[in-house]
Symmetry: C3
Subunit: 367 residues, 3 copies
C-alpha cells in the first residue's frame, strides 16, 4: 500500500505531459495566425501592461481640507463707509472645504416682529386673517420692515473680493498603499508660500489662489458672478503612480462651475445665481431685533479627486492569465480557418483529430 502511494507520487513527479501538436506548414494560414498571435501579444504587452498599467492595483484617497481666506473689502453705500474682513465675509468662519465668500448683499437693518399689510405675492410671514378687501392684500405677522430684494446692487458692493486670496491645505491618505501626502509637497515650504500666487503655468503647486483668477479660470466673468452669486468647484486632482518616487505624487488644481443645467446652451450662465439669507440677532430697548443679510456670494467647493496606482501581483497575474486565454481564442480562430475554410481542410482534419470509433479505424490506424 505504502509502495503504491510512493509509486503514484514518483510517477506524478517524474512524468510531465505536454500537448502533441500538428505543425502546419501552410504559408497563408501561418502568416494569418502568427499575425493574430502577434496582435494579441502586442495588445497584452502594449495596451494592458504599458498603456493601461494593468500590472497595478488602484486606490482612491480619504482626504481632509482646510481653507483660509485673506483680504479686506470696503464698501461705501451712500456715504456710509465700512470695512469687511474675513470674520465678516466668509461663511462659515472656521475654514471648511465648502464655504461662501460674500460679494454682494441686500441688508435689512433693525427688523422686529410686527404686523404689516402686505401684497399677497410678497408673502413672507404668517397671515393674521385680517385681509383688506379688494386690494389682494392681507395683514401678516413678519419681521418688519420686510426685505426688499427686487434690486440687486449693481456693480456688486464687494468687487474688491477679486483680490482676496484663498489658501488651501489638503491632506490625502491612500489606505491600501499606506501613503499620506499633503498639498504642501517638497519645495512648498513656509518661505515659498509667503510669496507665491497660484498660476497654472508659472506656479502650479502654489496653494494660494487669487479669487479673480479662480473665477477667470472657471470661465466666468467676475463682475457677473459677484453680483448674483455662483458656485465654483476647485478640484484638487491627485493622480499618482506610486511605483515611482512618492515625491512625484503632486496635486493638480482645476476650476469649473457647478450645478449647471446641461439643457441650457450657455453652460456658464447656468451655474450663476447663488444666495442665502443670514440674520444677526441683537437686543435693542429690550426688544429682539435682527439684521437680515441676503448674501450673494461665490460658493467654493474644494473637491478632492484621487487615483493612486501601484504594482500588485494579483492584477499582474490576472492580466497574464487572461492574456493566455485570449491567445487560446486566437488559436481557435486559426483552427476554424484551417478546418473549415481551406481547400485541404479534410487533410488537416485528419492530421489534427484521431477518432475513437470504428468507422474511422482506417484513418486512425497509422495516425
Amino acid at each position: 500500500m505504502k509502495n503504491q502511494i510512493t509509486n503514484a507520487l514518483s510517477d506524478f513527479f517524474f512524468e510531465y505531459e505536454t500537448p502533441r501538436q500538428v505543425l502546419v506548414r501552410n504559408r497563408r494560414v501561418g502568416v494569418v495566425c502568427r499575425l493574430i498571435q502577434l496582435g494579441v501579444l502586442a495588445y497584452i504587452i502594449g495596451w494592458v501592461f504599458i498603456y493601461e498599467k494593468g500590472y497595478q492595483s488602484t486606490d482612491t484617497a480619504v482626504s481632509s481640507v482646510f481653507t483660509k481666506m485673506k483680504g479686506v473689502g470696503y464698501t461705501n453705500v451712500s456715504g456710509s463707509e465700512r470695512v469687511w474682513d474675513v470674520a465678516d465675509y466668509v461663511f462659515p468662519p472656521q475654514g471648511d472645504s465648502s464655504f461662501v465668500v460674500m460679494t454682494n448683499y441686500i441688508i435689512t437693518e433693525g427688523q422686529k416682529m410686527g404686523k404689516q399689510t402686505l401684497c399677497m405675492f410678497l408673502f413672507q410671514g404668517q397671515m393674521t386673517g385680517v385681509c383688506v378687501e379688494g386690494t389682494k392684500t392681507c395683514e401678516v405677522l413678519a419681521w418688519c420692515p420686510v426685505e426688499d430684494d427686487h434690486n440687486i446692487p449693481d456693480p456688486p458692493l464687494l468687487m474688491s473680493a477679486e483680490n482676496y486670496t484663498l489658501f488651501i491645505k489638503n491632506s490625502v491618505t491612500f489606505p491600501l498603499f499606506g501613503v499620506t501626502r499633503s498639498n504642501l509637497v517638497e519645495g512648498i515650504d513656509a518661505d515659498y508660500i509667503s510669496k507665491c500666487l497660484h498660476d497654472p503655468k508659472k506656479a502650479p503647486l502654489c496653494p494660494i489662489f487669487r479669487l479673480g483668477d479662480i473665477v477667470k479660470l472657471s470661465g466666468f466673468s467676475f463682475e457677473t458672478i459677484a453680483r448674483v452669486g455662483g458656485a465654483i468647484g476647485i478640484v484638487v486632482d491627485w493622480t499618482c503612480n506610486l511605483d515611482v518616487d512618492v515625491k512625484h505624487c503632486k496635486p493638480q488644481y482645476n476650476f469649473h462651475g457647478l450645478y449647471g443645467n446641461p439643457a441650457e446652451t450657455d453652460k456658464a450662465r447656468a451655474s450663476v445665481g447663488y444666495n442665502f439669507r443670514y440674520a444677526k440677532h441683537y437686543m435693542e430697548d429690550r426688544i429682539q431685533k435682527r439684521t437680515l443679510l441676503k448674501v450673494f456670494g461665490i460658493r467654493f467647493d474644494i473637491i478632492v479627486q484621487s487615483l493612486a496606482r501601484k504594482f500588485d501581483i494579483i492584477p499582474t497575474l490576472t492580466a497574464i492569465g487572461s492574456g493566455v486565454g485570449i491567445f487560446g481564442v486566437a488559436t481557435v480562430v486559426c483552427d476554424l480557418v484551417l478546418l473549415y475554410l481551406l481547400p485541404k481542410r479534410e487533410f488537416y482534419k485528419n492530421m489534427k483529430f484521431k477518432y475513437t470509433d470504428t468507422h474511422t479505424q482506417v484513418s486512425s490506424f497509422c495516425l
Copy 2:
C-alpha cells in the same frame, strides 16, 4: 548567418501549430462534456457579459451639493407670537449638504455669567468650592438662569416645518469617463421647478421636496421626529450605464433614518433624538448676555451614491480570457471522467497519451 535568421523567421511565420486532439465518440461523455461546456459558455455570455455587464469598467463620482429651504414657521408661546423664516431655522444658513431644520426648541433668554446654588446633578458650570452642607448642592459659576430642559414642548412648537420645502442641487462628475451631470437633468428646467413637488411615482425627478413627505418616506412619524429631533439621510443615487445616451443617467432619491442601533428592534425609534445647543450673544447694559437655544430638529444629510459603467476593452478581454480558462477547467473535468471513471478508460488513455520511455514502446508504436 543572415540566411539562418531569414530561415528561422520564415519558418516561424509560415508554420503554425495546432494541438492534436482525440475525438471521443462516446454518447455519455459527449453529452456530459458538451453540457458542461455549454454551461460555461452560458455563464460567460449570460451572466458575466449580459447580466453583470462584465465588459464595462466602473467609476464612482466626485460630487457637490447645494440645498435651499423655503417656508415660514409660526409659534405662539403663551401669547407671544413669532415668525421663523429660513434665516432663523436652518443651521448652517449657507446651504450645505448636511444641515439641520429646527422643529422644536427650549429657549433660555437673558443668560449672563453668575453664581448660583445648584443641585449637583444639574451641574452645568464651574464649581466655586462653596458647597451647602447636607443638601448635595454647591455654588457654581454658570450662565444664569440655568437652562431647564426637562420638559420638551409637546406638540413641537414648529409643526409647521412639515410644509417647508427643500430644494437640492447636485452635480456629479465621473472623472474616469469625463462625464458631468446635474440633478437638473433634461426637462427639469426653471419652469418645471417653479411648479413641481417631488413624488416618488408622479414626479421622481423633481428636486423640490416637502419635509413632511421626506419624513414619511423614511418611515417616521413627523410629530415624533419634530418633537425630539432625528437624522435622515437623503440618498441621491446615480447608477448610470454610460454606453447608452447620457441623458438616461438620472438620479434616484431615497430616504432613510440614520444612526440606528441594529441591536434595537424598532429601527425607526433608534434614529430618533437629535439636538444641539446654540447661543446668540448680545450686550445689554454693558453686560454680555446670551439667548441659549436647545434646538431639536431634523438633520438632513444629502448622501451622493454613484456608480457609472462604460464599455472598456480591458475588462472585456479579461472576461473573455478568463472565460477561456474556465473552458479549460471544463475540459479537465471531462478528461477526469474519461480517464478514470469510464469502463474503457485504458483505451482512452492510450488514445490520449503517448509515452516516451521504453516500457510503453509497444503501445506508442503506431499511435
Copy 3:
C-alpha cells in the same frame, strides 16, 4: 436538410475532443515542471484565494457622521471669571463631521468702524489716503481697536478642554451589498455609552472620546496644540468581511495629525497651528459693534474609511480562469526546456510535433 442538421447536432453532442498529449518520462523535466505547476497552484489557492481573498468583490461605503461634545471650560482672565459651555466653544454648533473646539483665544471687544493711524505692516483695513510723512504710517478705516495678536496666551486659556468628551455617531452603508451598519454595534447600547470612555485596548468600541486622549494618541502634546491650535483626523475604519456574520463588522478608531509637510523632519510640529477669526455682532447706543475672537483650537475631521468584501461569483471565476491561464504559461516554460535545452530535444520534438509537409513525411509516417 432537416436530417443533416440533426446529424450535425448529434455529432456535436455525442462527440468530445480532448487534446492528445505526450507523457514525458524524464526525471529532471518532470520534477521541474511539477514544481512549477505546484507553485502556480499554491499561488492561486494560497495567495489569490486565501490571503488576498480573490473570490470576493469589494465595495466602499457611503457614510454619515454626527458628533456631540460635552464638557464645561472655565477661564479667569485678570479676575474676570467666565464659563464656556458647548454653545460657546464648538464651531459649528450643529454637530458636523468636521468641527473646531476652541482651546485658546485672543478677544478684541467693542470693535466699531473707525479711522486710525496705523503702522503699514499691521494693515488690516482700507487706506483713507491720509498718510503721516516720515513715519511709514497711514490712516486706515478699520474695525477699531485693531486686534493685537502678537502674544498668544500661554498657557492656553482653555486647558480644561483636555477633559471634554466627544461622542461620535457614524452610520455606513455598503450599497453593493445592501448592508448598513452603525458604530453603535451590538453591545454598545445606551447603558454602556453612559458609562464608557474610549480606550484603544480596554474599550475599543466605545464611541465616547476624551479630547486629551485623542491628542495623545495622535502623538501631540496637548498643551502645545491647545495653545496654537492644530488639526487632527479621527479615522473610523470599517474593514469588513461580509462572508462572516455581519456583527463582526466593527469600526476601528485611529488618530493622526493632518496637513503635515513631509519636507519637515518633525512631522508633529508640521500639523500644529490652526486658527480662524470669528465675530459676534451687536448694537450698542445705535452703533454696530462686534466682539472679534481669534480662535485657536483643535480642528477634528472625522474621516470614514471603509472596505467591505463579500463572496462574488465573478471575481472567483475570473481568478480561476486566469489561474488556468498561468498554468498554461507554466507548460510553455516546461516545453521550452524540453524542446530547446535537453540533450534529447530532437527526440522530444518528434514526439510532440507532427509535420504536414513532405520533407517530414518519414518522421510523421508512423507518429
